[in-house]
């Protein structure tokens, strides 16, 4: 595992690069990076639930959709400033996720997968049904927010920075949550919920809360996407969105924080390259990656990097025999 100092350096370097990007890339590329950050937030939410807490969700696209529509409806119907819609979407998704998590407590493993999968299938229909609010299958057209205080940024650059800021705050909060006492309880429930309960962890409460927080992250991502794309429509929140998020989560590394970012890059850029082959190719490639990763890299990209890092450390330590005692011997479960 990287030491605290190394990790801080890596994070700061990445942030510096991220802040420089808007001034070097075209607006279209920049929009793609904004989308990467949005996916990363949603995937982190999914990682908390599926990776850390061991509850399946094949329907996280539903919370993404709820977040996006809450934001869009507030902007469209009540002219609320987009900045306010994001926390509201987060809080409402927290409540919805918590409520969905309550019955989910009774569903283990496969049954939860079934229930969430059906939820993902049902979402576009439900959205179309409440036409009065959601604009039906036409969707809602929004306007892109522009930079305040006369900052010399175009709307794409401004949105990029807003998304980046939300990402940094949410990842910082998430990391603190998952690496602390609550995070240990969440992981303990996944590994052995009976033992966790015996140690005094309130399994029911933690599981529903994890569901809520996970939904809130994904909802915030959805709300950001409504502003970034400036358009919401039911059919963009179909079951394949949920599968996309799961793919990002698996490829990046299920139980890891940095994995969410790798996964987001994967689901944003790989289809772009694959599109050149055929319209259907991105999904075929996604599917193959999904299966191959399960065989050879079940801990995803983040897991592979961690493994390489440990190997590199070990070989370095092996050259200096006196420090062998301090060599890390086993793979940690979180990055």
């Amino acid at each position: 595992m990287m030491s605290r100092g190394t990790r801080l350096v890596v994070v700061l370097l990445a942030l510096a690069v991220a802040c420089a990007l808007p001034f070097t890339l075209s607006n279209f590329r920049l929009f793609q990076f904004t989308q990467v950050y949005i996916y990363a937030i949603a995937i982190l939410g999914l990682n908390m639930l599926t990776g850390y807490n061991g509850q399946f969700s094949l329907g996280h696209g539903a919370f993404y959709a709820i977040g996006a529509y809450i934001s869009a409806i507030m902007m469209d119907r009540w002219n609320v400033h987009y900045g306010w819609t994001i926390p509201v979407a987060g809080v409402l998704c927290l409540v919805v996720g918590f409520l969905f998590g309550l019955p989910a407590l009774r569903l283990e493993g496969l049954y939860l997968a079934l229930a969430t999968f059906s939820l993902a299938l049902a979402v576009p229909q439900i959205l179309k049904y409440f036409e009065h609010w959601t604009g039906g299958s036409q969707g809602l057209v929004l306007s892109k927010p522009s930079a305040p205080f006369g900052l010399p940024l175009n709307p794409d650059q401004w949105l990029y920075f807003v998304t980046l800021a939300v990402l940094v705050v949410l990842f910082w909060l998430g990391a603190n949550l998952l690496r602390g006492r609550v995070g240990r309880a969440i992981v303990a429930i996944r590994d052995n919920h009976i033992a966790a309960e015996a140690m005094g962890v309130n399994s029911a409460l933690y599981k529903s809360l994890t569901f809520g927080v996970s939904a809130a992250y994904t909802g915030v991502a959805g709300a950001l996407s409504a502003s970034a794309i400036a358009y919401v429509a039911p059919d963009s929140f179909n079951v394949f969105l949920s599968i996309t998020l799961l793919i990002g989560s698996v490829i990046g590394g299920l139980a890891s924080i940095s994995g969410a970012i790798f996964g987001a890059f994967f689901i944003q850029f790989v289809p772009n390259w694959a599109q050149d082959i055929s319209k259907a190719a991105p999904w075929a490639i996604f599917g193959v990656f999904l299966i191959v990763f399960m065989y050879v890299m079940p801990f995803g990209i983040a897991g592979a990097i961690r493994l390489l890092w440990i190997r590199a450390r070990r070989s370095r330590v092996a050259q200096v025999p006196e420090s062998r005692e301090t060599a890390p011997t086993q793979a940690p479960t979180s990055s």
């Binding site: 094949l58 569903l107 079934l114 999968f117 299938l121 259907a280 599917g287 999904l290 079940p298």
Partner: protein, 293 residues
């Protein structure tokens, strides 16, 4: 009253499709504790193969049987090649692998046959049947007959043949089966093959109604899930009955509850799944499995 009877019969017809797919899901679940999320897409793929054969001039029932054979072989290959390496992996890994299969089948079908909807022929006459003053579509009746025939065959196979017995034994108690010389791995593969056959029957029977396209089975699969959940994932007979019940309920609700209509069909299925799981998670005929921890 006539409308009611008509709706019940056409509900039974679609229910038969759900029953066949639900049975496929339950067979695989019983043998390997996995829900195959790609079951519907495999069925859709088989239906496209049938369509290609028909297009090449093969007569309907020849193409039908040919598709069943190919589906059987395809199911075995999928189990041997894709599922076997993760057999002992955590459930999440297996679910993810079947989801991978789902998107692969879906996109490859789109790749080969494009996303344009294709009409699919029905082997039954288009003239409606008349009983008293109620009309039934011949395709609905044919669908019910075909489904029942397939179910009868599979029941006879499992009940009265040594291979069927061996397959049941392998699913019920793999360790002891292995000790008496049953090749458990191959029995599981055969189970996948048979499941693929049921799926193919379901696909070819529903395609004339829905028209063929790569997303043909998405809706059917969610209803098959609902049927299997209602009947119980541990009870093949229950799943079949569940499939029929779900088909009838779907049709009646669509006809008589005006605010639902056809627009909220998936939501009805979702509600059914969640209610069953909350009230009686084992389903109507399932048995609860007690695990030692």
């Amino acid at each position: 009253m006539e409308v009611f009877i008509q709706q019940v019969v056409s509900g039974l017809a679609t229910g038969g499709i759900y029953a066949a797919l639900a049975l496929a899901l339950v067979m695989i679940y019983q043998a390997t504790d996995v829900v195959n999320f790609a079951q519907g897409e495999m069925a859709m793929f088989a239906t496209y193969i049938c369509w290609s054969m028909l297009n090449a001039g093969v007569p309907y029932w020849g193409a039908f049987l040919g598709t069943l054979v190919l589906a059987f072989l395809g199911g075995i290959v999928v189990e041997r090649v894709v599922i076997r390496p993760v057999e002992n992996a955590p459930i999440l890994s297996i679910v993810i692998v079947t989801l991978g299969l789902l998107v692969i089948f879906n996109s490859v079908a789109g790749w080969i046959w494009t996303y344009v909807q294709k009409p699919f022929p029905s082997p039954f006459p288009s003239k409606p049947l008349k009983a008293g003053n109620v009309f039934f579509s011949a395709h609905d009746i044919g669908e019910i007959v075909v489904t029942l025939l397939v179910l009868l065959c599979i029941w006879l196979f499992f009940k009265f043949t040594p291979l069927g017995l061996a397959m049941r034994a392998a699913a019920h108690n793999p360790v002891s089966s292995r000790l008496v010389g049953i090749r458990v791995g191959w029995m599981l593969a055969l189970g996948w093959g048979l499941a693929a056959v049921f799926g193919a029957v379901a696909g070819m029977m529903i395609a004339p109604v829905l028209t063929l396209e790569p997303n043909l089975m998405g809706g059917v699969q969610i209803y098959a899930f609902a049927g299997a959940t209602l009947g119980g994932f541990t009870s093949p007979g229950g799943a079949v009955l569940g499939g029929f019940i779900v088909g009838v309920v779907e049709n009646l609700v669509g006809t008589y509850v005006s605010f639902i209509g056809t627009e909220l069909k998936f939501t009805v299925a979702l509600a059914m799944i969640i209610v069953v799981l909350l009230v009686k998670p084992t389903g109507l005929f399932g048995i609860s499995v007690v695990k030692r921890v």
